[in-house]
Symmetry: C2
Subunit: 199 residues, 2 copies
């Protein structure tokens, strides 16, 4: 049986590895690429390569950045003594969209997940402790996801930070239990930040 | 408000131009790309560029090909005197999947769509007439889509080819009216080919 050409099959194979792209979607994308302007497709191809080359983690907060230090950490208007601890860079974006929080972030780059073999040592917790010691941080808002891994991570951080005598907060009412932070809408996130409660 | 980094925003903009990819899907794909191996992402980036460079239209039938002539036209086991006329290369693939048809194809690269300003001159009809004259073609199966544009195209081709004295056929029972050929399943397509009817 004769199928697509080799280079089309190779592209379909690559595309189906992406999240949410099945074979049928990949075929539609290939058809689009074949019909599109060459310049547009070169831009797409370069953009994919560029993201992988240019984007790294901020050396202070581990947020995504194209410089050593991310734009939020460099922004003098942000309150450096208030740190919101999240699991992933996408959580930073979700909170930034709510446009309520004026502090800075600390991205753990994951959560504690014993069933998947991820412990506290796999997260950026050491650098959080160092920031708390060095940067005169007054308040830490733990904004991990409201699912099991997020709650375990929050609990671990609470045990760890409680003795340090800083104001320790958890995201307030508003987040539906069992949901992921990055899917919360902007209003819910504003509410949750506004009504944050001490742990 | 601070959003993603520049190169991420550029990639999201490129991705959302693809069919079926909204901003949320693009963000998920970007997250996947950021976490994936660099080698895998380079393969994807190159595959996109390569498809655009390597794939062209067969000089005989206008099917997708990486050589001057496509594999089907080069295959000596295919009956060269029986031509199946389809709108797009994806239709060739759909019929090939059914593994019933043993003739060759002619891809029109479109359909007649007066409302969108596409007339017969925009389709590869001249080269079809030339093949019929030169290649001793006995039977033409018109397998355009069963939607309005496809029916108009079929009607136009019928008027054009009827006087030539060749056996002129239309795809048989089995295709639901108003549907696109490329979404038909293999069995339906086999049935439709088997019970093709003279026009």
């Amino acid at each position: 049986m004769l199928y697509y050409t080799d280079s089309i099959e190779r592209l379909i194979n690559s595309l189906t590895k992406l999240p949410g792209i099945g074979r049928r979607s990949a075929e539609r994308i290939v058809n689009y690429i074949l019909g599109a302007d060459r310049s547009e497709i070169n831009i797409l191809s370069e953009a994919i390569k560029k993201v992988k080359e240019a984007v790294r983690f901020c050396k202070i907060c581990n947020n995504l950045s194209e410089e050593e230090t991310c734009k939020i950490c460099l922004d003098s208007r942000r309150h450096k003594d208030m740190v919101c601890v999240v699991e992933n860079p996408s959580d930073v974006l979700a909170i930034e969209k709510a446009a309520y929080f004026k502090g800075v972030y600390h991205v753990l780059l994951g959560s504690i997940a014993p069933l998947e073999g991820r412990g506290p040592a796999d997260l950026k917790i050491d650098s959080l402790l160092q920031r708390i010691k060095q940067d005169n941080i007054q308040e830490v808002i733990i904004a991990t996801d409201a699912d099991t891994e997020g709650e375990i991570t929050a609990l671990y951080l609470t045990e760890l930070l409680k003795p340090k005598g800083i104001k320790l907060m958890r995201l307030g009412i508003g987040i539906p239990m069992g949901s992921n932070l990055e899917y919360a809408d902007a209003t819910t996130l504003s509410k949750a930040l506004e009504s944050r409660r001490p742990i």
